[in-house]
């Protein structure tokens, strides 16, 4: 089947700052589009039959020998299985190290008075609450379209994004995978250009 927009089985816009969850069945293709560019899309993955098996950032980057997610990356689970494989990427260098923002980490990073601001962890806590999962299920996520270069001395910073409007990343599911997304609401750093924007989520049958 050709991969045309009219052939999608799911095609929805997700406004900035909102959570999203969905199951990508084995063999289905899953695309995230950065509609306006420079957005950060915080994403977690679980085996839909057993949430205790989840995306493992350390296994994923160690097995591929590189800290960035891009075309060819296999997302490895905590049980050493391939969950997803990235098959298309018009942006490159998606972050694996920065994790997600939270009220609590905002208070430490930007000032104790920033605790009130909306955050990705709030979105994840909402999702795991709704799905009757546990906060223990929330681990280090992938930040699609977020730019976190690391220097030889280890210096690391979330800097201006490199994604252009319409850039996308596409994956094929290797198992039935529950995906949790927080379309990042951070206003205190350039992870999304200080201006959170919407994304598009598309799913195709293979």
């Amino acid at each position: 089947m050709t991969k045309k927009i009219e052939n999608t089985i799911y095609n929805e816009k997700l406004k900035s700052g909102l959570p999203w969850s969905g199951v990508i069945k084995k063999g289905q293709r899953f695309r995230i589009v950065d509609l306006e560019g420079c957005q950060a899309v915080d994403t977690l993955f679980y085996n839909n039959d057993d949430f205790s098996e989840k995306y493992s950032p350390t296994d994923t980057i160690r097995e591929q020998g590189s800290i960035f997610i891009t075309t060819g990356t296999k997302l490895i689970s905590s049980d050493d299985n391939v969950m997803m494989e990235v098959v298309e990427d018009t942006c490159g260098n998606h972050d694996t190290l920065g994790g997600h923002c939270s009220a609590e980490s905002n208070s430490v990073r930007f000032g104790l008075d920033k605790r009130y601001m909306h955050s990705c962890r709030d979105n994840y806590l909402t999702l795991v609450g709704e799905l009757e999962m546990s906060p223990k299920d929330i681990s280090n996520n992938i930040n699609f379209f977020m730019n976190v270069p690391v220097e030889e001395n280890g210096h690391l910073a979330i800097v201006d994004g490199i994604s252009n409007p319409g850039d996308y990343v596409e994956m094929v599911a290797k198992m039935d995978t529950l995906v949790l997304i927080s379309n990042c609401p951070q206003l205190n750093n350039p992870c999304n250009g200080y201006n959170p924007t919407p994304i598009q989520i598309l799913i195709w049958e293979n």
Partner: protein, 238 residues
């Protein structure tokens, strides 16, 4: 200032797992007794184990993928579980490489060292060690987190490529962690997940020093971010 009074002194033998609650104000010194030390650590707020070490927040908040003396180890609640109060290894710490599993041990180390062939000298992996030790606290797979590795470091070359730094701790090198909360600390003494060759992790001496009350001067050498973390932590105990 930490106490000089030792409340526990014991040896963590090669390939073995270990756990203990380190109380707020106590310090734990981990000393390499050989030239091939390599520990992996997972740790939790002992009073609420859903609060745990968060490597992403730890490196992001402190602007560096690498850790060392006077860096702190954050939970996802913006609180400090441990500060790295002493480090004679000059930064042999790692949060990138993760932990070993039985497949990696089989691929990376020569010899078919099963229990049947080697009895208690069999080649254990971090995954087995952590599952067993966490199970004793009613915890399991969901509680396994991106670990802190001690006595080895993973470099990031050319902006992205991961390489295990060949440098090892010298015999007698030590890392000392000070607990700012009651911390459940779980250790696994196995080779680093990116190590290859000989399976021979060194014994490590564990010394725990008596608890002290924190004073403002204890925080002096830490970053502004760490200081806000200490404030959040002290608020928790107010």
């Amino acid at each position: 200032m930490r106490s000089e009074k030792i409340v526990l002194n014991e040896t963590l033998y090669s390939s073995v797992k270990w756990s203990k609650i380190i109380k707020r104000g106590q310090s734990i010194k981990l000393k390499a007794l050989g030239e091939n030390a390599s520990l992996s650590a997972m740790f939790y707020n002992a009073s609420n184990v859903s609060e745990r070490f968060n490597s992403a927040d730890t490196v992001k908040i402190q602007w560096n993928a690498f850790l060392g003396k006077e860096k702190v180890l954050f939970s996802e609640m913006g609180r400090v579980l441990f500060s790295i109060s002493k480090d004679s290894t000059d930064g042999l710490l790692d949060t990138l490489g993760g932990i070993s599993n039985p497949r990696l041990i089989k691929e990376n180390f020569e010899g078919d060292a099963t229990f049947e062939s080697c009895r208690n000298g069999y080649f254990k992996s971090d995954r087995e060690n952590f599952l067993i030790e966490l199970g004793k606290y009613g915890m399991g797979k969901k509680d396994m987190i991106p670990a802190l590795n001690l006595f080895r470091k993973v470099d990031v070359k050319e902006g992205s490529l991961l390489e295990l730094n060949p440098r090892c701790a010298k015999k007698g090198d030590f890392i000392e962690l000070t607990a700012h909360m009651d911390v459940l600390l779980v250790l696994s003494n196995t080779p680093h997940a990116m190590d290859k060759g000989e399976y021979n992790p060194s014994d490590v001496e564990i010394t725990i020093f008596d608890a002290v009350e924190f004073k403002n001067e204890d925080y002096t050498n830490y970053s502004d971010e760490a200081k806000r973390g200490f404030k959040n932590t002290n608020r928790y105990f107010a």
